[in-house]
Amino acid sequence: MSEAIAYYPGCSGLGTSKEYDTSTRAVCAALGLSLVDIPDWSCCGSSPAHTKDHVLSAALAARNLQLVSDMGLKAAATPCPSCLTNLRTANHRCEAAPFKAKVDKLLDDPYAGGVNAVSVLQALTEMVGLDTVKSAVRTPLKGLKVACYYGCIMNRPPELMAFDDCENPMAMDNILAAMGAEVVPFPLKVECCGASYGIPRPDVVAKLSGKLLDAAVGVGADMVAVACPLCQMNLDLRQGQVNRAGGTNFRMPVPYFTQLMAVALNIADEEIGFSKLCVDPRPVLSKALAVAD
């Protein structure tokens, strides 16, 4: 029962969030969802392009969507919410013919349309399904208290993203619960972590991410599972800055949800890639799983 979907890792998947990429690939393979790489994929247009020029950024996205179309596929999955936003925005904007004409002018190969972009989370929910996920579990994440953090753009704007509740999303909660984890109700699921303010205004990130970590501790979470490379970086890499700014002492592991899935599916350590994270989740993980035994 192998379903196929084009796979768009995004630039961070090759660099800062390599472990998100490898764990995603391994998890999907284990669950029978075949991710087909897009040959010669390029920037999704989310970086500086979209703040400068909507046509240029849509053209960058549309180039990739057209490559998917050339593969004979109708949908692409991406782990990164920023890529997702941009791919979906391009699709939305190209519904207007005059806009699309301008986009096509920039492309060698005009975009034929009709390629849907979804998150890996959505693909796992809709194409694999909770039942399959549940029955594939080898090491249940029993006893592990996880707060699921979706970030602010994963489901927003709701008309564009068209998946899950935009204020109280449940897809990740449901998947990790199916893997046996004890999902704690996390009230700040869709609050902003500070995003790219990390560079110009690290104080803003320290405050916003600090709030998230504080709330996660407050609900008794062992770790915060995330689905966005940028959120991950702010909460994990900048945790030291947060602590220094707020006089706190957080040591909260922030793994990608796919990494936790990989643990439950008994996937090899290199693919899980916990060693790439700043706060190592392994001590907390083994303690929680051991207590549960």
């Binding site: 204020e167 109280n168 709330a215």
Partner: protein, 652 residues
């Protein structure tokens, strides 16, 4: 035929952009027009006298008035020609105001178009025939559906007026939302003290029959002669025997069920009387939780009931009530707060609705009138009220204002201070809507005397932190973000149409808007009438209303019923469809298409034929365009007349 044409100036409304004298002159060239004139105000007394005089002087047999929309003045002019001795259907109107002078500035084009409209009206009039309404008798009983304060008022006024009243209430007691309120704005008087006596009057009035725990199953008939099937749902308690002693409730072992009367913030037993002042004060068993039904064993209530009223084998019962008029007073329901996921209603126990808060304030509520928050029973000190939840919000498809929540929120802040003097209330609002006698003064009192802190702005989210609820929002007057640590959050949930309202509207054959509120016949001039003769509206089933407005409408609807019943015989509108029996092939297409079920199948010399029930037909004409034989014709709007109008227009 001798036709007279009267072209109205409507002051300068028409004359400003239409040359009425020219229109009148041109009319003289139309067939059978023997007299034409312009007139200043056709509807005024001198205007009508002019028409009557001309009919007499010139021996007119038909009249065209070219003026405004027939919706307003067609009845006026019909009465005028009737006073002059003509049949009132020998009259046509050409709308040269709404359809001409108000929508175009070009005087010449407007004049020409007016001439065309008069030409059309003349051609229709030439094919009009006198119509005589038939008379039928009226059953002077009235049914009121819904026993909230609006329905109670309508029922009492009708009954005091000498009518027999049948009151149908879906719940086991009448009272509606008002019975759940603690105190009422703007006087802060106790709700059950002012409603209770009215409820008792209903119970004791010799003219009122009450069917509680009942619903309307189907409705047949027409104004003056409706037949309503009422489904009396099984209560599993024989109400003839039940004395309301409550012994069963004390002993029932199934005690932890969500209490609907207390808006599910308190528990109740499976056998229950919703509140002490309930009318009727009778017990009902909920078979979805009762152990006798769920597990097949218990029977405790049957053992303890001193009158042996418990009947586990009771079934629903249908009774038929014949009435001449119906008042719909089914009220409203609350917007489901769990749809606003950012506020966490339904997820966090300390985020509640305004109606739940009323139950916490009420001495007969689950906390005995002490404000205790649902999560841990602690007395809250900081209470945040959020207004317009599920109102004035296009993204939730609720663009309308619910009207009463600004006021009840102000009331609740006052009551909060009375209950807990060292508390602080905060109110997030968009703007304060408090028109009404003593209303704005009331909201000011909440702020100035009771110290409620009003913050203009929306709340972005509510989330728990420790044992507090963090309310984060904007203060748009100060231009800042605010965060309040609240112990309890009360959402002023908006009003929605009552559950099942569209289905009931269809049974009543009345219109409803896209939100399910019933439609009045005219938004200004016929607020309690509907487009179905004999069916009236009262209270918030027509749109959110507070108690004074609902009561006013209850009385208004009763006055309409009393006026209707002041006659022994009613006249039916003769502008209805009739079947030409020679042409009808009995295919039954009209029967299927008629939205009012006004056509029935009959046998005529061994052949199937359609027949229109005069009193039910509303004259919509849908059947006439369905009949493949052209056998069914709408009087006063026959195919011939419509084609003649089209011809007149095309040949001009």
């Amino acid at each position: 035929m001798r036709i007279g044409v009267f072209v109205c100036h409507c002051g300068s409304n028409i004359e400003g952009t239409v040359d009425t004298a020219t229109v009148a002159k041109a009319s003289l060239d139309f067939p059978e027009v023997v007299y034409a004139t312009d007139t200043m105000y056709a509807c005024s007394e001198p205007g009508q006298d002019g028409i009557i005089q001309a009919i007499k002087d010139k021996n007119l047999t038909g009249v065209v008035v070219a003026s405004c929309t027939p919706r307003m003045h067609e009845p006026t002019f019909r009465r005028a020609v009737e006073r002059a001795g003509l049949n009132r259907f020998m009259f046509e109107m050409a709308n040269i105001r709404e359809h001409v002078s108000w929508i175009g500035r070009d005087r010449e084009a407007n004049t020409n178009k007016s001439v065309d409209l008069v030409r059309i009206a003349v051609e229709k009039l030439r094919r009009d025939a006198p119509l005589i309404p038939s008379k039928f008798s009226v059953n002077k009983r009235v049914m009121v559906i819904g026993g909230g304060v609006a329905g109670i008022q309508a029922a009492l006024d009708c009954a005091d007026g000498g009518l027999e009243v049948v009151l149908v209430e879906r719940e086991s007691s009448i009272g509606g939302k008002m019975a759940k309120l603690d105190k009422t704005f703007p006087t802060v008087d106790c709700s059950s003290c002012i409603l209770g006596p009215k409820m008792v009057d209903v119970a004791q009035h010799p003219n009122i029959t009450l069917h509680a725990y009942s619903e309307v199953d189907s409705i047949g008939g027409y104004v003056g002669n409706f037949q309503v099937q009422v489904k009396k749902r099984a209560t599993y308690v024989d109400w003839e025997l039940c004395t309301g002693c409550g012994a069963c409730m004390e002993k029932c072992p199934s005690k932890k069920n969500p209490d609907a009367f207390n808006e599910k913030i308190g528990p109740c037993t499976s056998i229950n009387i919703p509140f002490p002042q309930a009318i009727p004060k009778k017990a009902v068993i909920d078979p979805t939780t009762c152990r006798q039904f769920v597990k097949g064993k218990c029977g405790v209530c049957a053992k303890v009931c001193p009158t042996g009223a418990i009947k586990y084998d009771m079934t629903d019962e249908i009774v038929t009530e014949d009435v001449g008029a119906i008042v719909a007073a089914t009220g409203y329901d609350l917007f489901d707060i769990s749809k606003v996921t950012e506020y966490g209603g339904g997820r966090y126990p300390d985020v509640i609705t305004g109606l739940q808060y009323e139950r916490l304030l009420s001495a007969s509520g689950p906390t005995g009138g002490h404000i205790k928050r649902p999560s841990d029973g602690k007395e809250p000190k900081n209470i945040v009220f959020i207004q317009c939840v599920g109102s004035r919000d296009k993204s939730l498809d609720r663009p309308y204002c619910s009207g009463f929540c600004c006021m009840y929120t102000a009331k609740q802040t006052i009551l909060t201070k009375d209950h807990i003097p060292d508390s602080q209330s905060y109110v997030f609002y968009m703007d304060i809507r408090s028109p009404g006698k003593m209303y704005d003064e009331f909201t000011r009192r909440a702020m100035e005397e009771y110290g409620a802190r009003y913050i203009r702005g929306r709340v972005a989210m509510v989330y728990p932190k420790g044992d507090k609820m963090i309310v984060r929002g904007a203060d748009t007057l100060a231009g800042t973000q605010v965060e309040i640590e609240a112990d309890l959050v009360v959402l002023a949930a908006g009003a929605e149409a009552a559950k099942g309202a569209p289905q009931l509207a269809e049974k009543l054959r009345i219109s409803y808007d896209k939100y399910g509120f019933f439609m009045e016949s005219h938004p200004k001039l016929k607020p309690v009438e509907t487009n179905t003769a004999g069916v009236y509206l009262a209270g918030s089933c027509q749109g959110p209303k507070d108690i004074p407005q609902s009561v006013g409408q209850g009385s208004a609807a009763a006055a309409k019923v009393l006026a209707l019943f002041s006659k022994d015989m009613l006249e039916s509108d003769p502008q209805i469809s009739r079947v030409d029996i020679k042409r009808c092939v009995g295919c039954g297409k009209c029967i299927m298409t008629c939205p009012f079920k006004a056509i029935k199948e009959v046998e005529f010399r061994g052949q199937k034929k359609a027949e229109v029930i005069e009193t039910v037909c509303q004259g919509c004409g849908i059947c006439t365009s369905t009949c493949p034989q052209g056998a069914i014709q709408l009087s006063h709007f026959t195919d011939n007349q419509i084609l003649a109008e089209v011809n007149a227009l095309c040949q001009s």
